[in-house]
Symmetry: C2
Amino acid sequence: MSLVQDLRAVLGDDRVLEEPVELYLYSRDASLMHGQATYVAFPHTTAEVAAVVRVAEAHAVPIIPRGAGTGLAAGAIPVDGGIVLSTTSMNQIELDVDNRTAWVGAGVINLDLSKEAEPYGLSFAPDPSSQSACTIGGNVANNSGGAHCLAEGATTSHVLGLEVVLAGGEVLVLGGQAPDTPGLDLKGLIVGSEGTLGVVTRALVRLLPIEADVRTLLLDFEDLSGATRTVSDVIAAGVVPAALEIMDQKMTTAVENWLRAGLPCDCAAILLAEVVGEPEAVEAEAALVSSIGLENGARNVQVARDEEERAILWKGRKSAFGAVAQVSPNYYLHDTVVPRSRLVETMEEVQAIADRYGLDVYNVFHAGDGNLHPLMAFDASDPVMLDKVHRAGEEMVAACLARGGALSGEHGIGLEKRDMMRDDFTELDLDAQARLKEAFDPAGLFNPAKVLPEGSRCFDFGGVRREIPDGAWL
Amino acid sequence: MSLVQDLRAVLGDDRVLEEPVELYLYSRDASLMHGQATYVAFPHTTAEVAAVVRVAEAHAVPIIPRGAGTGLAAGAIPVDGGIVLSTTSMNQIELDVDNRTAWVGAGVINLDLSKEAEPYGLSFAPDPSSQSACTIGGNVANNSGGAHCLAEGATTSHVLGLEVVLAGGEVLVLGGQAPDTPGLDLKGLIVGSEGTLGVVTRALVRLLPIEADVRTLLLDFEDLSGATRTVSDVIAAGVVPAALEIMDQKMTTAVENWLRAGLPCDCAAILLAEVVGEPEAVEAEAALVSSIGLENGARNVQVARDEEERAILWKGRKSAFGAVAQVSPNYYLHDTVVPRSRLVETMEEVQAIADRYGLDVYNVFHAGDGNLHPLMAFDASDPVMLDKVHRAGEEMVAACLARGGALSGEHGIGLEKRDMMRDDFTELDLDAQARLKEAFDPAGLFNPAKVLPEGSRCFDFGGVRREIPDGAWL
């Protein structure tokens, strides 16, 4: 039987898409890149995922696991054909309130999990800006972070167990309620592997108690370095707030023009800080953040008076990328990270690079983690401009690596940064990663051409072509 | 050249041991098992470790990495010959106070790291009971926990980077200052792999600020279940103390008879709780722990008045195993874990098993983590008794697994629990672990016959014999 017949035998006719417009939509994500899907499959159960994997193997066709397609590094796009396996129908949540955990389907939307847990006083800590759309499966694939991961860690710190379908349609359940299970840490290896080792179908996640009290502060500064120094000094003082987020003037202005959230636009940078815990500790930590901010040149410290004001401040932060879309036809967002102590100089270097190329750069970032998100706004219909954006972006990433940083803070490598992996890792290191990939996926069918760079050990093995089609950039 | 000549060419004569008494000492650890070393090697540098690995490969002889030999699961013993590679000479500490990290040699003693960091207000969170002797390399190999890992997580949460020597003498540096580096999580995979993938030579660790305030409470209960319920209720109330440790009456009495620390011996169990943070929060949390304890039947709540009293309480807890050695010629300590919500019934089952075999069982455990350490005291010169201890221990572990627990909480699998791995993992899971082992160690020279069970995929490959010599049990 043909590939599509085999897929329909497993899933039924209505859960296998093949219309050109459908394939087009499922060949993109939130990056500027696109690929070409052969079919899109919507399994409902783990057994169906395993059956789809076996069909793909029988036809030697790649499988590209996909959540909500909110990824920014082209991790979920089919590079050159293959079955896009959408997990969005796998959206069961099984709460275990006593043990403060939940088994959740890969297709569950991040925010839906926290909403489901809220009546029990619990929440899921990782909160990407895309949390109203992105899925738990995507969070696991990318080890996603978020504004509130400063104190609590990224997704890997919140995953206790995983159900995963491997080559051959084998179903493995890794980890469990008990913390730190013995043996090799397969669970930790799967988290962040961007769908290159298998398909994650369910995750057992930790839920944290909603904090007794929360206080959100907005500080504004006449220079960006005052804001970044405040971040370093707060942490040096022994306080780790739940979030420490900086937006520069360009970004603040874009958000304010769109949302009218009351953000100050006449300052170089704003710092959004949130402290949580017992009321007495919150009081003390908020006072400390304020005084350190004032010592570093903050003009004003505004404290959200109620939940409504707090929600407005956060909406401003989480809508930053959307706001830029209102003022510019295209934008390119980078995601890198440097040791916190080198944030000030790195920000200056990023600005200098943008100036040299004559580009507008907007900054919004998880300052507490040293995680930068410089965003270049431009008009992609101008090919000269597009080229400048790519070259400037590469220089920004290189500047971070030169300061002991990493290629990606939380968005993953995907296709976007695959060929920059050699700037961050040695050949020996890449080779070790490739050997692991081969151990799990000897035929090279799981999300091929991602993460590991062209020419590396895994890139060419197996029967699948790996070239990027013409026009993969826009 | 012979193996010993090659080793001496690399390390010099004085850093290769071969005398029978020396080999005997390095063929044991803190478990009841022993093996047989062929040579013991003491490299000083990473380059020397790489050279030793190449010599071992040339002669097809296993390498058994070893820290202080405090392991309880026979993870560092040479099963049937091989080079015991002692890391104890690799004990450099490079503090980076600004970034709150340190690069530390594998042979650095756990407590020495915290002592070195203390003048800067920093400390290393994982604190095994053996912290005054055990090494960072051993902590990494076993993903060691400790009384204070309840709030802060085990070793893997505190390792940002690793330097590791792999097959072929390849040296890899994994991770770095930036959190959550992209690509496959090799660093996370090496942590907890018990020396079976390569030799860890250095680790980049997170240091945490020493908390502003600390309060240590001792509660005593007329029944053990009151103490365990207190633990569940405290955590259900949204408080995660730095430590929640329980000792039963037998254990408390043994400690008190040895140390005269003033512990109450007329109660069924004592609960040692420690809360840390800002003074106001500490005050509030200590009050909450007290009131929850009293609701669950605590007779008294004693609060350490000063650092000296606090040190005495902790010395009592950390000396528990030593105390049993004063009253019994031998003891066998198990290390398992159950979901916290099932602690009470599991403790009752452990006691019932001990009663059925007519064995004395002492309990001391990380109650907050659900990590049990039932300890059976006995006289090993009686072979009937030894057999009973092993059978009772296996039943205790099985009882934990049946309640959703895991084979090991923090001591690792080593040789001791290798053949119980099938009770905790499926064949598919073990096979995936074995494929990873092969990807890193195709010749099977790194710490062979450990972790993966006899008969599994990795057990027999390579040219090395894997039988356990007669008398490996005592």
